[in-house]
């Protein structure tokens, strides 16, 4: 039996093409790294996008690249395109 909590991740709508139309995906994860692994396991078509770098917003705080940040069921989690700057 898994001990990981189930969290919901919202995707940007352009990713629906890879998830059979879903834009909210549930995965078992306690960290961003586990969340991204779970997302790819659920929807392998997202592998290239996740591998090429994404950011994650947790309750409005944007995590640019960190995989060890904690996620929990009560968080509002959004996948975002990888942030960078000039």
């Amino acid at each position: 039996m898994s001990l990981k909590p189930v969290v919901k991740i919202h995707l940007w709508s352009g990713l629906r093409a890879f998830t059979g139309g879903e834009d909210v995906v549930e995965v078992e994860a306690a960290t961003i790294g586990e969340l991204l692994n779970g997302l790819v396991a659920r929807h392998p078509g997202l592998e290239d996008i996740v591998e090429s770098g994404v950011s994650v917003a947790i309750d409005g705080k944007v995590i640019a690249s960190g995989l060890s940040e904690a996620v929990a069921p009560e968080n509002e989690i959004w996948l975002m395109q990888r942030l960078k700057g000039g």
Binding site: S52, A57, A64, G66
Partner: protein, 753 residues
């Protein structure tokens, strides 16, 4: 980082305006920039560039050049790593860099590097470059973003398209973004007025004063040294190592002083070429770009074509908004269309919104970042339509923006709910500013715009070493592109409780610290600042431990106060405060050197909003625009050195004035850049600018110990739109294409063809 760890007042150093530590060097000419160093036996490198926008490279004959006096090496693509292979998406990014640094089978734009030569003098190298014979087979080209998406457009490169691009699009469309929420159709149906319009912006260059320059040495043993003008020398190290097949740690890179970057020096162009020439010649090689090379072959911004549709009720409520953003980024993937899309409607709390972005390849140089890449163009299009809606519905532009403003807890147009943000505070400060209520003179128009940028954290390493005399050597890894050495020294001095002048901040080379991400994303004062504070606190902990040992008490019974170790309470004993310098004077005998460190990837960069107010006058006979008054209001979180924050605000406005009014890449029918110099590419000079008022709003960022938000980029987001709104009001006609140069204004007025 929790809010309760924020320190927002009671500062001694933060918020003051000391002189910058590099100021004397810069005004006396002692500062060393990219082109200022030489080495014994040094050669000069010159790069041969394609005169064609798109051409197959049939043959390169270097024999004549190699036989010339003084010529020591010639390199072509064959002298770079063949381990890097093309691929779609970010997996192909290093190949894109290599392909841009030195062309492979095809020249992809006017100015594309195809070969390079090193000789004993710059003149000899130039002569030899002319003697390299390149046989081209010229191919059809395209430089316009809309034409590049058309069915009959020549294909720049097959196989570059990411899976995200919908089927049926032209192969030049290589990436795609779509996001949003809500029911657009219902939203537009609810509106009293819907405006739909198309806007275009031309590519502009960052216009830094210092051209790219470097001096590289690379031996046959794979060990190298590189001095270069860059915003990120660890990235230069990584890229050069990959392109030349080196072990990363064997190449030491030192960043020179930098004469402007604005994002354009986040990329690598000439450094691998200098190293390849050096490896072949076994001598140091220096390359200095001329201005034409900078324009033709380093990254300008993307140019754009955008369709915007916004619905509004009579009371000013926005009911729905959508945008299509087509961005060309040259002959490589990477136009920042996802940021154009995500930033476009960020200032507004919308029930229904959709933004769609297209990254399009053309036969132009590879675009590079330019302050908030992608965002200013989006603001131009969206804020122009908001202005039209306000005008037609008789609404105040600031009140309307306040009515719809994003705030903490509302859903962003790109998805998540906002954390603590300061947009409303900038709008309220703009509304209260005397500029907004000043009556306009005859012929003047006033424009307002908001702007948004995400900001960034990134990998950061800092080392803070204490000297025996109690002064501090602070080593950071982010090149100082905006006065950051002063800000870092202030933060270290604040934590340590010592004078600002007692801290010397140095930009360390790649052999001295762990990996530091580029100075980009407005990250330096945020991330290197956070790292400096944490490194200082690490040093303070060690200083307290030395005091505890001296006093024979527990370490946690000592605290740091005003530059001294003191007992933390009455139970800790009666000990005189122990100043920093007294501890460091004995540190060799009490445990050794004291150094504070911080190495991490800070993830709390707070986003930033700005509101700009512009007054403009248009001469309807000549089409010339004069900006008569300009006010920038921006959220800085906490201004460490207010003068430099104001400087960033003013700099963004000044560059925005150039982008809005005059600057543009002009291509001929042959696909060649027609204005590769500052005489024909007109950036603003001092006499073009009014005094730019800067108002600092401080809504602390919970992700930084003092509340800092990056300020370097957001300041260029609102100007294009604010100026367009002012110019349109003054001219009496809506300007939808940048730059709003005199011919374009006359054409809009119908007085010029």
């Amino acid at each position: 980082m929790a809010l309760d760890s924020l320190k927002t007042d009671g500062f001694k150093q933060i918020g003051t305006r000391p002189n910058r530590p590099d100021g004397l060097d810069k005004v006396t000419g002692r500062a060393l920039y990219g082109a200022d160093v030489t080495a014994p036996g040094m050669l000069w490198g010159v790069i041969v560039r394609s005169p064609h926008a798109h051409a197959k490279i049939v043959k390169i004959d270097t024999s004549k050049a190699e036989a010339m006096d003084g010529v020591k090496a010639v390199v072509t693509r064959a002298d770079f790593s063949d381990a890097i292979q093309p691929a779609a998406g970010p997996r192909g990014e290093m190949w894109n860099v290599l392909e841009n640094v030195m062309a492979g089978d095809k020249a992809l734009y006017d100015g594309h590097a195809v070969a390079a030569v090193a000789a004993t003098s710059q003149l000899a190298a130039r002569d030899a470059a002319k003697a390299i014979v390149v046989e081209y087979e010229v191919l059809p080209h395209v430089t316009d973003v809309d034409k590049a998406m058309a069915a009959d457009a020549p294909v720049i490169r097959e196989g570059a398209t990411e899976k995200s691009v919908p089927e049926g699009m032209h192969p030049n469309v290589v990436r795609y973004h779509e996001s949003g929420h809500g029911d657009l159709e219902a939203g537009f149906a609810e509106a009293d007025l819907v405006i739909e319009d198309t806007f275009k912006t031309e590519a502009t260059h960052q216009g830094y004063i210092e051209p790219h320059a470097c001096l590289g040495t690379l031996g046959g043993d794979g060990k190298g040294e590189l001095w270069c003008c860059t915003q990120g020398h660890w990235n230069v190290q990584k890229v050069c190592a990959a392109l030349l097949g080196l072990e990363t740690s064997q190449l030491r890179v030192t960043a020179s002083e930098i004469g402007g970057g604005f994002g354009g020096k986040t990329a690598v162009f000439i450094e691998p070429v200098a190293l390849a020439l050096s490896r072949k010649a076994n001598k140091p090689v220096k390359i200095v770009m001329n201005r034409a090379d900078v324009f033709r072959a380093t990254g300008p911004t993307a140019s754009t074509s955008m369709d915007i549709k916004i619905g509004m009720k009579k009371d000013g409520t926005i009911t729905a908004a959508s945008g299509l953003f087509r961005c060309q980024g040259g002959a490589f993937p990477g136009a920042p269309m996802e940021f154009t899309a995500m930033c476009a409607f960020a200032p507004y709390n919308l029930q229904a919104v959709k933004q769609t972005g297209f990254d399009v390849m053309t036969n132009r140089p590879k675009q590079a970042a330019y302050r908030a890449p992608g965002s200013p163009m989006a603001a131009f299009a969206v804020e122009s339509v908001i202005d039209q809606l306000c005008n037609q519905l008789g609404l105040d532009p600031i009140d309307t923006r306040l009515k719809n403003a994003s705030r903490e807890g509302t859903q962003a147009s790109f998805g998540p709910k906002w954390d603590r943000i300061g947009l409303v505070e900038t709008l309220e400060a703009a509304k209260a500013h005397p500029h907004y209520s000043e009556p306009l003179k005859e012929g003047q128009g006033r424009g307002v715009s908001c702007g948004f940028w995400f900001n960034h954290g990134g990998e950061t390493a800092v080392s803070l070493a204490l000297s025996e005399d109690g002064t501090v050597q602070l080593a950071v890894g982010t090149p100082d592109i905006g006065g950051s050495r002063a800000s870092m020294a202030m933060m270290a001095a604040e934590e340590l409780g010592i004078p600002y002048e007692n801290v010397r901040c140095t930009i360390a080379d790649t052999a001295t610290l762990g990996y530091n991400e580029i100075s980009h994303g407005s990250r330096v004062t945020y991330a290197s600042g956070l790292a400096t504070i944490k490194a200082a606190r690490d040093a303070v902990k060690k200083l307290c431990a030395r005091a505890a040992a001296k006093w024979g008490i527990e370490e946690d019974a000592v605290k740091w106060e005003d530059g001294c170790a003191v007992p933390s309470g009455p139970n800790a004993g009666d000990h005189e405060p122990l100043p920093l310098a007294k501890i460091t004077a004995k540190m060799g005998a009490t445990g050794g050197p004291i150094v504070g460190h911080f190495e991490a990837t800070p993830e709390g960069a707070g986003v930033s909003f700005a509101t700009h107010i512009v007054d403009a006058e248009v001469d309807k006979e000549t089409g010339k625009t004069t900006i008569s008054r300009y006010t920038v209001v921006q959220d800085a979180g906490k201004a460490i050195h207010p003068t430099y924050v104001e400087g960033q605000f003013q700099g963004g406005a000044a560059q925005g004035i150039g982008w809005a009014l005059n600057e543009e890449y002009i291509y001929g029918e042959d696909g060649r850049l027609q204005n590769a110099g500052f005489l024909d590419y007109r950036i603003p000079v001092a006499s073009d600018l009014p005094m730019i008022d800067a108002v600092i709003v401080e809504v602390p960022n919970p992700g930084h110990p003092y509340g800092v938000r990056g300020v370097g980029e957001t300041s260029i987001c609102p100007p294009l739109a604010a100026i367009a709104n002012a110019v349109s009001a003054a001219a009496g006609v809506r300007l939808k294409q940048l730059p709003m140069s005199p011919p374009r204004i006359l054409a809009a007025l119908g007085t010029h063809d």
